[in-house]
């Protein structure tokens, strides 16, 4: 099915990638092809309200960018805050608040030139102090930040005059301009720790914010991008039920929805009111093993389980073809770093039995903790459980309550599901999820060699060497017995035909969660 053309709507959304044309991968090295169809160069129209239905309902919605962990927050963040840079479709950093930048030869010292005349929504000007704070607050003890690992390489950030920021690094990083543009590094006012009344320099200001209920944003008349945003108002609210969400789009009650599922995809594709907006990428749902506890510290057990997944079936049945098959590591097959020499793991009951024999697991029950909070995990778990029955493994699915999943289950149970958005560079992803002590290293996997390789990929300029390092990284993770990563999941969203100006960016839904300042309504 992966090679069949996918029937989308009659007219695809402007610039939607077809699955075949593009299946995601490394973003930082310019691998992303331009979409096959060029977007009609229409003049954006001003005005109107756009309503977006979210799929996660959480009273934990926040404007504190350090704590962002879901699309809801990312979209709110890119609308209300500005960033130093923004990643484009080619995976390159484009100027935003930073007009230009240069590095020294070793890529350890970077100078960013800051655009003049930008002010916050409360009228005060954006200063270098604000920018320094916005980057360095992630190191503070009192700030619970997911970006701690990402700022670990920064030794200092200081101002050089009113319009220049100098960032010094411990180790070289050629991708720093991309790094400073990620969601967590929203530009906030110096000394802000309470984000209940967010003040930013973005395209919108907050009219109403009720966590878990609704966010209403209105045009920021003083936005520094001339003429933008095009829409007057942007509203977002959750419709947690997947069919209800698709139905709301089909009935025209909302203009955009996150996460179409199952039959909803075909229904939207067939409708004359909305289109399916597909963004292939390397987002994944994986089964991870906590390697610091029994029985999941038994690598043979995990390796055996990795042969119990019919990946093609996961792709066809669960993902409805919207994804790519993966090989138990997070590097996508479209990446130039992809290690093609690593044999593809497939459903193989004999190999599974061989590993189970070696693991000496016998008939002991093995619990697989899944959760509705982890996309498709309950489905993937059921496919695996079925094959486990055939291979003689006593695998039992345990569906865990969504709310305490990330505190009480992920990393705390032997086998559990996790999911992860792609990051602008694989180096960032690996730093966040495979480094010792990283908050998202749920397997608690520690490997000196892997740590060194991850650091080396950042500081190595030579592409051939980088490939070699990434190749070894893939082999280590593939054989780690810490992760079973069957498929990469495309982002499949729904967008009304009225909405124009949206281009996919493979780090998230709807243009990488960053679109509100560019879209417009075509009546």
């Amino acid at each position: 099915m992966a090679d069949d053309p996918i029937v989308l709507g009659e007219s695809q959304p402007p610039g939607a990638f077809t699955r075949r044309a593009f299946n995601a991968g490394l973003l930082a090295t310019g691998l992303i092809a331009r979409p096959g169809r060029s977007q009609a160069q229409a003049m954006p129209k001003r005005g109107g309200t756009v309503r977006l239905a979210l799929y996660q309902q959480s009273t934990g919605d926040t404007f504190d960018s350090a704590r962002y962990d879901k699309g809801n927050d990312y979209i709110r963040g890119t609308s209300v805050y500005s960033y130093l840079t923004r990643m484009d479709e080619q995976g390159r950093a484009q100027p935003e608040v930073a007009e230009s930048w240069e590095a020294n030869k070793e890529a350890t010292r970077w100078v960013f030139n800051i655009r003049k005349g930008i002010s916050f929504s409360d009228g005060s000007p954006l200063t270098t102090d604000d920018i320094i704070f916005s980057l360095l607050r992630h190191r503070e003890e009192r700030v619970a930040s997911s970006a701690k690992q990402l700022v670990a390489n920064i030794t200092s950030v200081r101002a050089d005059g009113p319009d220049k920021i100098v960032i010094e690094l411990a180790q070289p990083d050629v991708d720093l301009p991309i790094l400073v543009g990620i969601f967590q590094f929203a530009l906030v006012k110096n000394g802000t720790y309470d984000f209940s009344k967010p003040i930013g320099t973005g395209a919108f200001t907050v009219k109403e914010f009720q966590p878990g209920l609704r966010t209403v944003l209105v045009r920021n008349p003083n936005f520094w991008k001339q003429g933008q945003p095009y829409i007057d108002q942007f509203e977002m609210f959750p419709i947690p039920d997947a069919s209800a969400r698709a139905n709301a789009l089909l009935s025209g009650d909302v203009d955009m929805i996150l996460e179409l599922r199952g039959n909803g995809i075909e229904q939207v594709a067939k409708s004359d009111i909305a289109d399916v907006f597909v963004t292939p990428g390397t987002r994944y749902t994986a089964i991870q093993a906590a390697v610091d506890r029994a029985p999941s510290n038994n690598a043979d057990l995990t390796l055996g389980m990795s042969y119990l997944i019919d990946r093609k079936r996961v792709l066809d049945t669960v993902l409805r073809g919207y994804g790519t098959i993966a090989n138990d590591h997070p590097i996508g097959p479209a990446s130039e770093y992809y290690n093609a020499e690593l044999p593809q793991r497939e459903l193989d009951l004999d190999k599974a039995k061989f590993h189970f024999q070696k693991a000496g697991i016998g008939n002991a029950p093995i619990e697989l903790s899944m959760g509705d909070g982890v996309l498709y995990s309950v489905d993937i778990g059921q496919l695996m459980q079925r094959e486990a029955m055939r291979a003689g493994l006593n695998l039992q699915i345990k569906r865990e309550p969504a709310e305490s999943y990330w505190t009480a289950v992920a990393g705390k149970r032997p086998f559990f599901a996790t999911n992860f958005h792609p990051r602008p560079t694989y180096n960032m992803l690996l730093n966040l999820s495979w480094k010792k002590g990283a908050v998202w290293n749920f397997s608690h996997y520690e490997n000196e060699r892997l740590e060194k390789l991850i650091d080396d990929t950042r500081s190595e300029f030579d592409l051939a060497k980088r490939k070699e390092y990434y190749g070894e990284i893939q082999s280590i993770i593939h054989n780690s017995g810490a992760i079973i990563l069957p498929c990469f999941l495309s982002y499949v969203d729904g967008v009304s035909k009225k909405i124009k100006g949206l281009t996919p960016l493979p780090i998230g839904s709807l243009g990488g969660f960053n679109f509100t300042d560019r879209i417009w309504i075509e009546a």
Binding site: G60, A144, S146, P211
Partner: protein, 320 residues
């Protein structure tokens, strides 16, 4: 009568106190406290400790409960631990939404259901009665999410007549509100009407088999009059009880409909708050639900006593 009401109101306070203790205790023993859940994937021992300190969770449980209690007695529901906003402002919109949905549904469903119950009883044994009885049973046995989704598919997606979601922007006018409410109200009206109609039918049936009614039949009073007047009058007590339980359900139990129609009501708020372990909000919801229930039952009992001094108030009819 006044004494009974006073006594019952006193008991209500006791029940509220017990419920608040129970809720507090339940939130204490659930895995993951509000700080851990709020930090989620980012929880480290240090920042959890810091956040607990910030939320005032470092103090002993008893002290926190008593502080909450003293505040609540003075009408101060405290602040949400998660959103930091006062609970009262968090509740006000949801409370209004819930009251609206429950109110409109009750106003439509109760007269309709009683009428259907009376008519089916009058036509006892005829085709209409049998068909209606089976329909009531079938509808009250259909999962709400299926009923609601089918209504949405038909009226919102295929016919395009009505909105698929009952999400209301702030400042929606009457027309928008009414349209948005149609489908969720319809779903609930179907469920509740089927329930109450069936109960009305059962209650009237059992009253009709009482000796004094049989006497009336022998006296030659027309059946319509017996069912519609004598029996119905005696059915008010038990019926009030059924209606009270259904209304209590409409206030506190309509999670499914609120979820499918993205309608921000109290039931969903309580679920979300339990999930985020936001104790002050959970407490406030529990108090509202509990008070609603107790007061509704009290009203039903008062009605029952007014209409029937022998008190047939509690009948086998309160399953929900």
């Amino acid at each position: 009568m006044a004494n009974i009401i006073l006594w019952r109101l006193g008991a209500t306070l006791l029940i509220l106190l017990v419920v608040s203790l129970l809720v507090f205790w339940a939130c204490e023993i659930l895995p993951g406290d509000v700080a851990q859940v709020a930090l989620g994937q980012y929880a480290t021992p240090e920042n959890v400790r810091a956040l607990r300190l910030e939320m005032g969770l470092d103090r002993p449980a008893i002290q926190r409960y008593l502080e909450w209690l003293v505040g609540a007695l003075q009408g101060d529901w405290g602040r949400s631990l998660v959103t930091k906003t006062p609970v009262s402002s968090l509740l006000s919109e949801r409370l209004a939404n819930t009251a609206l949905l429950a109110g409109v549904t009750t106003l439509i469903a109760v007269p309709l259901a009683v009428l259907l119950g009376v008519v089916t009883t009058m036509w006892n044994g005829r085709a209409f009665d049998r068909a209606a009885t089976v329909s009531f049973l079938a509808l009250s046995a259909t999962p709400e999410f299926l009923l609601a989704t089918l209504l949405v598919l038909l009226f919102a997606v295929n016919l395009g007549w009505l909105p698929a979601v009952a999400y209301l922007s702030t400042g929606s006018d009457f027309g928008q509100t009414a349209r948005a409410l149609l489908l969720p109200t319809a779903s609930l009206v179907i469920v509740v009407t089927a329930q109450i109609a069936r109960m009305t039918r059962a209650i009237l049936g059992s009253i009709l088999s009482q000796p004094y009614i049989e006497m009336a039949v022998l006296k030659g009073i027309p059946r319509q009059r017996i069912v519609g007047y004598h029996a119905l009058r005696n059915a008010v007590g038990p019926l009030a009880n059924v209606v009270a339980l259904n209304v209590a359900y409409l206030v506190s139990g309509v999670v499914v409909v609120e979820t499918i129609f993205a309608y921000p009501g109290l039931a969903r708020l309580m679920i979300d708050s339990v999930q985020s372990r936001d104790l002050p909000v959970v407490q406030a919801c529990a108090m509202i639900f509990c008070a609603t229930y107790v007061v509704l039952i009290l009203l039903a009992d008062v009605l029952a006593r007014l209409f029937d001094p022998h008190s047939l108030a509690e009948r086998p009819t309160d399953a929900l």
